[in-house]
């Protein structure tokens, strides 16, 4: 470019630049077209899916949870429909203000607001979230009258879990509660997350937890088209949910109720089993709690009270309480001796009232001893010396082997809780056990002296009531062991088919009938002329039983005085029984914490339970504490 301008050169340069611009334009548009080809042809499937995902929302429809009934069809857990007040956040411009205004019409507690906030964080905004549950009819009417003021807020019917019998059988049924992170993990581990979309409650304990996946049902869903604001525009497809399966139990609700009443204020547990199937007839852990408190989220006050109460109502003593069996151990010891050829029924010992081992004297409860004691007498009168000697003769590992075959010190596999985790194993002492239990070498060694007190059910022995009941049922059922279970059959709601939980024998101990007969006879003797005679006086059936008393702490040889010991230090009372003795229909184990002698507080409960179960006889109130038993029958 110089000082002199040639117009034609200028025009040529201009046209050259126009051409340059034209090429730039074509290149730029070419780039755009390339981008369109990339998006619309090459990546089309990807964006197609994204657009569909955008547009379609699956709204889960939560199925009805399965119903739980007892063996006679009495409903133990069901669902009922109640009105809830629900907010669809996407339709409400100012949530805070709306809730504030709502609070002037309907009572809204701080806990309702808290729950709403929590749910709001989790939910998608096209879902409606409850702000109040279980509205009364009056509240529904009040809201309906002012409804125009609250767009996006509506009354809906939702299903709630209900336990009509309240606290009865609560430890067996368990309860449901809100899904926590841990539950979420469990669902994930079982690959059920798809089926739990929309579900906000899950079984927390007991049957509700064990049979969670049966009870839950199949979640249905509705495919809806939504807009960018998350508002549902129209339904495209609806797959209805399938209700959860129903559980019919072996448990007898009336028997359960009577048993719980029999306990009254006493802490303890009773497990009654049908020995021919392993079906649980009653499973009591006292005190109980009302599972209905948990359904809608338990209040902190209630939770605190239940959790911190000294009597520990939340602990299921039947499967989680491990107690020394005390003298209820003796029939099992005697049977072991017979089976292993360590004793014959008539072989008698002379009981001076004590047994010396090394430099330690093991005392019998009866001063001066029982004199000449054979096996029958050893059980009927609960002679300790007989079992001190027997234990020493058998040795700890023989005892452990036989008791283990009865299921003691092992999880029974009852259908409660999550997998096995809910059940305690208890302690079946053996040399091996001690080696595992203790770290220091000097503690790991088993001393022969320790075997002696094992013989009378003390020492390291600790078994759950359900283990004792199962062992009793094994004897009652001639050595054939069944897995204790609560569910008799499951009704599949989809097919209507009833799936029987087949009572599967775990094993046959192949016990000799004549040996079993000896034990049976002796246990009948207990209730006729021995420590259980008072409790079973006048029974029109023959019941086999054995009382027991488990020391809470060692009295170090001091004489046990009923009145002088604080209640919580008093011994645990136990009783095992089965009836009718010749063809048992029920086998049970009772434990009364700090109940003192077994004959005193445990046996009367067993009597009431068996009376009802065999005769249909209804008792009046709690079982009496038989105080007169203390004077006569304190030899157990």
């Amino acid at each position: 470019m110089g000082d002199f301008h040639n117009p034609d050169a200028d025009i040529d340069r201009f046209r050259f630049r126009l051409g340059f611009a034209a090429i730039a334009v074509l290149l730029a548009f070419g780039l755009l077209l390339g981008r369109f080809v990339w998006l619309q042809v090459i990546q089309h499937d990807f964006y197609q899916t994204r657009a569909e995902d955008n547009r379609i929302a699956l709204i889960p429809i939560v199925p009805n949870r399965g119903v739980i009934t007892d063996r006679n069809g009495v409903v133990l857990a069901r669902n009922y429909s109640a009105f809830t007040l629900e907010i669809t956040p996407s339709l409400v411009p100012d949530l805070e203000a709306s809730i504030e205004a709502l609070a002037s019409v309907i009572d809204i507690q701080p806990k309702d607001r808290k729950r709403f906030k929590r749910l709001l964080d989790e939910a998608k905004n096209f879902e409606s979230i409850p702000i109040r549950t279980r509205l009364s009819d009056a509240e529904v009417a009040r809201f309906a009258a002012q409804r125009y003021r609250f767009p996006g807020i509506e009354v809906k019917a939702r299903l709630f879990r209900q336990y009509p019998l309240g606290s009865i059988a609560s430890h067996a049924i368990g309860y449901i509660g809100r899904i926590t992170e841990r539950d979420q993990q469990w669902i994930l581990d079982n690959e059920r997350q798809a089926n739990y979309k929309g579900t906000d409650h899950i079984g927390k304990t007991g049957l509700e937890q064990h049979y969670e996946f049966e009870l839950h049902g199949e979640t249905g869903y509705e495919q809806v088209e939504i807009d960018a604001g998350g508002r549902a525009l129209r339904s495209l497809k609806r797959i209805p949910p399938v209700s959860g399966n129903n559980l019919a139990l072996t448990l007898d609700a009336k028997l359960q109720e009577i048993t719980e009443q029999a306990f009254g204020e006493r802490k303890g547990s009773l497990v009654a089993i049908d020995p021919e199937t392993g079906g649980i007839l009653a499973l009591v852990s006292n005190p109980t709690y009302d599972p209905n408190l948990f359904v809608d989220g338990i209040t902190p006050d209630n939770w605190k009270e239940l959790n911190e109460h000294p009597s520990k109502p939340m602990v299921n003593r039947a499967i989680n309480g491990a107690y020394p069996p005390g003298s209820t151990f003796k029939p099992f010891m005697a049977l072991a001796a017979l089976e292993m050829g360590k004793r014959t029924p008539n072989q008698a010992i002379s009981d001076p009232g004590y047994y010396n081992f090394g430099n330690h004297q093991f005392r019998d409860d009866k001063k001066g001893g029982h004199g000449s004691v054979d096996m029958y007498k050893s059980i009927v009168h609960s002679c300790d010396t007989y079992y001190y000697i027997l234990a020493n003769d058998m040795g700890i590992d023989n005892i452990a082997k036989f008791m283990g075959s009865l299921g003691l010190g092992q999880r029974t596999g009852i259908d409660l809780g999550k997998d096995d985790a809910g059940e305690s194993k208890g302690v079946l002492p053996s040399q091996e056990w001690k080696k595992q239990r203790f770290k220091k070498p000097e503690q790991q060694k088993w001393y022969a002296g320790e075997t002696i007190s094992i013989g009378i059910g003390q020492g390291y022995n600790a078994y759950t009531p359900i283990q004792l009941a199962q062992a009793t049922a094994v004897i009652a059922n001639n050595g054939v062991m069944f897995r204790p279970h609560l569910v008799r059959h499951i009704t599949d709601t989809k097919t209507g088919e009833q799936r029987l939980i087949e009572p599967k024998p775990i094993r046959d101990l192949n016990l000799k009938p004549q040996n079993l007969e000896v034990i049976r006879r002796a246990m009948v003797g207990v209730n006729k002329e021995g420590t259980g005679a008072r409790a079973f006086a006048g029974a029109p059936y023959e019941a086999a039983g054995k009382t027991g008393t488990a020391q809470v702490f060692s009295l170090k040889g001091a004489q046990y005085k009923e009145g002088s010991t604080k209640k919580e230090l008093r011994d645990h009372a136990l009783f095992i029984a089965f009836a009718p003795a010749d063809k048992p229909k029920i086998a049970l184990a009772v434990l009364v914490e700090n109940g003192g002698f077994g004959a005193q507080s445990a046996a009367p409960i067993a009597r009431m339970v068996i009376d009802y179960y065999l005769l249909g006889k209804l008792p009046a109130g709690a079982a009496p504490e038989d105080n007169s038993a203390i004077e006569d029958d304190n030899e157990e």
């Binding site: 201009f14 126009l18 730029a28 369109f36 089309h44 807009d227 960018a228």
Partner: protein, 370 residues
């Protein structure tokens, strides 16, 4: 006897004397597509089609009037329009009202105006006049003067802040300077300088502008914030596929996933419903429009008219490219409507001022030669 047919024919010829039919046909085609797309975009709620048709009518009148004004007369508007524009921009800087964090509007009591719109036309007009004036004695210093004329309004608009409009105004001015013969050496030097100044410029950008650029690079970093627009628009385009989902059947459009769908993002609506086929047609029409504009520029007799025609034409290209590029996710989101498609009267009127000028330049070229 009055020759009615003859009179009507004369009137008609008189009326269309300054209409360039190829240009009119192309813009009408794009506008028709735009009208249908505005209808699709607003059919669920606001119904903007008739109102847009009204805007088009007004814009066509503006075009008709402007086309009749000879380029020499248009030149007379250059200085007053530019000066008024700059004064208004200063007024905006001083008294403007803030909308969405940007001071772009000037309140006039009964209405409010956006003076940066005026600069889209005033800028090329002014610079074309400027180069016409110094045609015979053009020296390097004149480019510096042109650069100053360009930078003052550019800075005022960028300061509002309205980077999109600033860039469009700046581009319009630059095209004039480019066509006027800005030496390649200087262009190369400017590009090099811009590249080296980029990091410094980056620090001068507003946070929201930085965010737009960052989300362009990876929209997923802010899927619910500023990345949302790009993501949803891209989904709309991609899901449209080769043939589109069909008119009124775009799910992204009708379920409100596309933001600003009848204005800046109207291309996503069109693209979802008409697919690659529709996109190709639209790009083809824009290519025709630009081609016709460049032809007019090439045939223009004076420096003023050829610079103006070239700059206006490349302006159309710039609008179209930036808009489609931003909606399809290869350019940052700036507030640029798609020419002749997006809803809005002001933008249409500005566009047809340009079309009118192109027609005027083309239909008056013989007169000048004579």
């Amino acid at each position: 006897m009055i020759d009615v047919a003859g009179t009507l024919r004369r009137w008609w010829l008189q009326a269309v004397a300054h209409i360039d039919f190829p240009l009119l046909l192309i813009t009408l085609s794009i506008m028709l597509i735009g009208l249908a797309t505005v209808n699709s975009a607003t059919i669920d709620s606001a119904h903007r089609m008739l109102s847009q048709a009204g805007n088009m009518g007004i814009a066509l009148c503006v075009m008709w009037v402007v086309a009749r004004i000879p380029p020499q007369k248009l030149m007379r508007f250059a200085i007053p329009l530019y000066v008024i524009g700059v004064i208004l921009l200063i007024a905006v800087f001083l008294f403007g009202i803030k909308v969405n964090g940007a001071k772009r509007w000037l309140p006039l009591g009964f209405t409010r105006i956006q003076p940066s719109e005026i600069m889209k036309i005033a800028m090329p007009l002014m610079l074309a006049w400027y180069f016409q004036k110094y045609e015979a004695t053009l020296k390097l210093k004149h480019y510096a003067g042109a650069a100053l004329l360009l930078l003052v309004p550019f800075a005022l608009i960028a300061k509002q802040p309205d980077l999109g409009t600033a860039l469009l105004v700046g581009a319009a001015g630059f095209y004039v300077i480019f066509f006027a013969g800005l030496p390649w050496k200087i262009i190369g030097g400017m590009i090099a300088a811009a590249a080296s100044a980029a990091p410094f410029l980056w620090t001068m950008l507003h946070d929201y502008q930085k965010k737009r650029i960052l989300t362009l690079i990876d929209p997923t970093t802010d899927p619910l914030g500023s990345g949302y627009h790009i993501i949803q628009a891209t989904i709309a385009i991609g899901s449209g596929g080769s043939l589109g989902k069909g008119y009124l059947n775009g799910t992204q459009t009708h379920l409100e996933f596309i933001p600003e769908k009848h204005t800046d993002f109207i291309f996503a609506v069109y693209s979802e419903e008409w697919g690659l086929l529709g996109n190709s047609l639209l790009v083809f029409l824009y290519t025709l429009l630009i081609g016709r504009g460049l032809m007019i520029a090439s045939a223009a007799p004076t420096v003023f008219s050829r610079l103006l025609a070239g700059a206006i034409t490349l302006g159309f290209f710039t609008y179209a490219f930036i808009n489609m590029g931003m909606v399809s996710g290869i350019l940052p989101v700036v507030g640029v409507p798609l020419p002749f498609m997006s809803y809005g009267g002001t933008a249409l009127v500005t566009l047809f001022l340009g079309i009118g000028m192109l027609m005027s330049i083309h239909t008056h070229r013989m007169l000048v030669k004579k």
